[in-house]
């Protein structure tokens, strides 16, 4: 009997060790200089932010100072890192601009109407096409068009962000107020966060354990596990959060109207 008890206790302890802590706490705020931040990316361990109002992208130092600036874009939205440089969806020009190795080029893509976001995973990439209510996914050999305007599974109402993992595409389906997940053939898999009274799901990011979502009008960040269960809801020091990223165990959240970055640490 005692042996059985010890075995049970051992199994329970082992399980609890496997589960990592999921508690995020507010650490500090970074005040940006006259930046209306929309998108965030990490390139070579440095923070880059898109300033859609200023039509530029800026490299941000630890204290919020602008270290570098690239101008001349037409409403740059949710940016991402690309080959040591950046991929910039230009919402006003309907193109994705690639800045890398000292060159500037336009990504060849299907016709876009206000591209809001792009993400890459190895040799695949996906674009959230806002006014077309579609996601365009390049699987390495061909383009797959996903979705159409609507509220049903597999349909979008103004998609604003995309995150690609090894298996799935996570799409911030902003004005259906949810995340939609697709496989790499473009088939609908499931919906997340639809029952959380979200108001404008504008930014999505994920890793092996967690999926993060910005709830723009409710000033929250929702943290889910990969099954879609809520792990934590952040609301402290957030104001119209629009995009986010996790880097070196810190969560960086862009607050659009305040022009700040709220930084959370994993406790």
């Amino acid at each position: 009997m005692r042996k059985v008890l010890y075995i049970i206790i051992g199994v329970v302890l082992l399980q609890s060790c496997k589960q990592k802590s999921t508690s995020w706490t507010f650490d500090h705020e970074i005040q940006l200089e006259k930046v209306k931040p929309v998108g965030i990316a990490i390139v070579n361990d440095t923070l880059w932010v898109s300033d859609a109002e200023g039509n530029r992208i800026v490299q941000i130092g630890e204290k919020g100072y602008i270290l570098n600036e690239k101008t001349g874009f037409d409403r740059p939205m949710h940016i991402t890192d690309f080959k040591g440089g950046l991929a910039i969806p230009e919402y006003g020009k309907d193109v994705i601009t690639l800045l890398y190795n000292g060159t500037t080029e336009t990504l060849k893509s299907p016709s876009l109407d206000a591209p809001a976001a792009i993400d890459f995973y190895e040799d695949t990439y996906g674009i959230a096409d806002f006014y077309h209510h579609k996601v365009h996914f390049f699987d390495g050999t061909k383009w797959i068009s996903i979705g159409e305007k609507g509220k049903e599974n597999g349909q979008f109402h103004y998609p604003t962000d995309i995150h690609i993992s090894d298996e799935f595409l996570y799409v911030a389906d902003a004005y259906n107020h949810r995340i939609q997940i697709f496989d790499k053939e473009g088939k609908f898999v499931k919906i997340m966060a639809a029952d959380l009274e979200i108001n404008a799901a504008t930014g999505v990011w994920g890793n092996d354990e967690e999926v993060f979502l910005t709830d723009f009008e409710n000033h929250r960040v929702i943290i889910l596990n990969t099954s879609g269960e809520v792990k934590q809801i952040l609301s402290e020091e957030l104001s119209n959060p629009i995009d986010l990223i996790v880097f070196k165990n810190k969560l960086y959240v862009l607050n659009f109207k305040l022009g700040t970055i709220s930084v959370f640490k994993r406790s």
Binding site: K36, E53, R75, G92, A114, Y158, T202, E217
Partner: protein, 203 residues
């Protein structure tokens, strides 16, 4: 003689250059409650449908939107206001300065109701954001018998100060016409569907 010919030639070249440059009217609009940037820059995209538009500038914080447009194919104030409304926004003020110096402005002054005949009232109106607030209030105020209209997002209540000789259902109809369901009238689906994405309150 040679000097005179040179001077005349220089002046002729100058005049030709000036005539060759496009003459532009200046347009300035202020809209209420620009919401998320995806919606706000949609307004800008809507105006870029006017081919030849130049120097488009929009400030989400203040709601200021300005551009220039060739004076040889002028836009009327009605065209400008309609385009703003087509994008789903509510124009607060607008001005056009024509190349000849003539200035047009929107809105015109409206009559203020007799204070003795006013009453306070409330209507429940569905909405989602600051843009909805601007639209709902503007719709109510479009009736000259409404002196004040303030909509609260949290309670979804529109507080009115209006003449005693107008009923709430009339105001409800005006609000439904711009896409907002209320306790008196439901907006038709076609109008609701045209609202900007952040205003889509029906779950």
């Amino acid at each position: 003689m040679k000097k005179i010919i040179s001077i005349v030639l220089v002046h002729l070249i100058g005049i030709t250059t000036l005539l060759g440059q496009k003459q532009l009217d200046k347009y300035q609009i202020q809209v209420d409650g620009l919401g998320c940037p995806f919606c706000a820059y949609g307004l800008e995209k809507k105006f870029k449908e006017f081919k030849g538009i130049k120097d488009v500038a929009i400030k989400i914080e203040t709601g200021d939107f300005s551009f220039q447009y060739p004076s040889d194919k002028p836009l009327t104030m009605i065209q400008v206001i309609d385009q703003v409304k087509k994008a789903g926004y509510t124009p607060k003020t607008a001005s056009i300065i024509r190349i000849n110096g003539v200035e047009e402005s929107f809105p015109d002054a409206t009559e203020i109701s007799n204070e003795a005949a006013l009453r306070k009232s409330e209507i429940l109106v569905s909405g989602n954001c600051d843009m909805c607030k601007a639209r709902i209030e503007a719709a109510a105020l479009s009736n000259s018998k409404v002196q004040s209209a303030i909509w609260d997002l949290e309670s979804q209540r529109l507080s009115l100060v209006m003449n005693t000789n107008i009923d709430k259902e009339t105001i409800g109809k005006l609000i439904a016409e711009v896409g907002h369901d209320n306790e008196y009238v439901k907006s038709i689906d076609k109008v609701y569907d045209e609202l900007p994405p952040c205003c889509l309150y029906r779950k």
